[in-house]
Amino acid sequence: MSALNPQLDGHGNLKHFLTIEGLSRGLLTEILDQSEGFLGVARQAVKKVPLCRGKVVANLFFETSTRTRTTFELAAKRLSADVLNLNIATSSTSKGETLLDTLRNLEAMHVDMFVVRHASSGAAHFIAAHADPHVSIINAGDGRHSHPTQGMLDMFTIRRHKGDFANLCVAIVGDVLHSRVARSQIAALNVLGAAEVRVIAPRTLIPAEAESLGLRVCYDLREGVRGADVVIMLRLQRERMSGALLPSEHEYYQLFGLTEERLSTAKPDAIVMHPGPINRGVEMDSAVADGARSVILEQVSNGIAVRMAVMSMCIGTQNLRGQMRQGADQGDLNG
């Protein structure tokens, strides 16, 4: 499997970052360890390191985003890369250009890395499969499928608070059905060896395959967060819902909204997370979102460090490949 993993080069180095699936615990741990180093860059007077100087990163967002796009942009800029922000919704694709033609044009501009967000599951894989071998693709969210950098920044945030994953109980609450964030979190928690992962939601928002993923499914919030070390709230994805999955947001909050009172069954030192944007009064009460156990804004800062780590690892792998190409051209490097 790993030999065929499109995300890795022949030596097992990260070339693209498309999904958590198929990556080893060692590699995920390496991403977390590297992120630790990049966290310090924010404390420098000059918040920049020269690692990716001269590289061009294109943010290719086919779906709107503020937090993810800006943190990717900031991550690339802190690595000294040049950044292109392409708002595809208002550009050539709306004039009829195909995805591959857009890609070819950007490749002709010598872009080194694409950060892709798309409403269709598998879009980033598709681009990776058709892109020139010297470019790297980072998935910034594809449909319901995967959002691996969000998954890793959540793992990074959990590790910074809880240390090891081995004894952790993590409760994921809300719209699991439509959530690529939840899928990436669950995959990462499984690879990193979390003791227990639970999902808590109304029946209509739990995917059919939940139990086969080794998850404990709960339909009651108070029961679901009992004894949890980490409580992750998900956003209700109205834009992906078709049909009557919920009676109303108000009723959802009555049953599944996180309040301090409902959180009382979790461990006293439990942390509360949310990938943002928060719907206050729908997924959680403001008192929880702004409370002492909330690490929501920390997730945002950590996101920059994790994205710097992933981007520089992929660019580093490109450099290795460039080096090998050169070596092959010259015959003997040390000659």
């Binding site: 630790e36 180093g37 007077a45 390191v49």
Partner: protein, 175 residues
């Protein structure tokens, strides 16, 4: 080395310098020097992985440790400590890191050992040992307990990815 450093600080009338060790060997040496000089300010650690000039050639360094500068370097006298000075590239990178944290008043360079092979115009202010090596020989600091300079044959070419941060072996440098 500590005596020489103390004399230099006296000559320059520097009362409370900040000492900063470069990962990993430089930190080991700095810990010893810091204790011998009885410095009041806490010791800083510097990781130069993000500033190396060979990232475009060999990719990410596998073990990056966060830099830790407990006191602002702005307008302070610094003592930068490394284990073995050879090409000077590590020090070039370390100076770049420091200046991204602020503008120090001065920087003194202390190296436990110094050898031939300089590729940049960088010389230490205080040196423990001037090593005279045979061609193909290298010198490395082993540690942390006990700390010892080890002299030996350099490994063959084609070092593994990021094997030696300080860029010691003859495979290193400008081809």
């Amino acid at each position: 080395m500590a005596d020489e450093l103390r004399a230099l600080l006296d000559r320059r009338s520097i009362a409370s310098p900040l000492m900063i060790g470069i990962h990993t060997g430089g930190v080991w040496v700095a810990e010893r020097l810091h204790a011998r000089l009885g410095l009041s300010e806490p010791l800083g650690h510097l990781d130069i992985s993000f500033y190396r000039d060979d990232f475009t050639r060999i990719g990410m360094h596998p073990q990056v440790r966060p830099s830790h500068l407990p006191v602002s370097v702005e307008d302070r006298h610094l003592i930068l400590v490394d284990d073995v000075l050879q090409t000077g590239r590590t020090i070039r990178a370390a100076l770049n890191v420091l200046f991204d944290y602020g503008r120090p008043k001065s920087v003194i360079l202390a190296a436990l050992a110094e050898r031939d092979g300089r590729q940049l115009p960088i010389e230490p202010n205080v040196v423990g040992l001037h090593a005279r090596l045979e061609p193909g020989e290298q010198i490395k600091l082993a540690g942390p307990e006990p700390l010892a300079l080890v002299r030996g044959r350099a490994p063959a070419k084609d070092r593994p990815k990021g094997a030696d941060r300080s860029g010691g072996g003859p495979g290193e440098g400008i081809p």
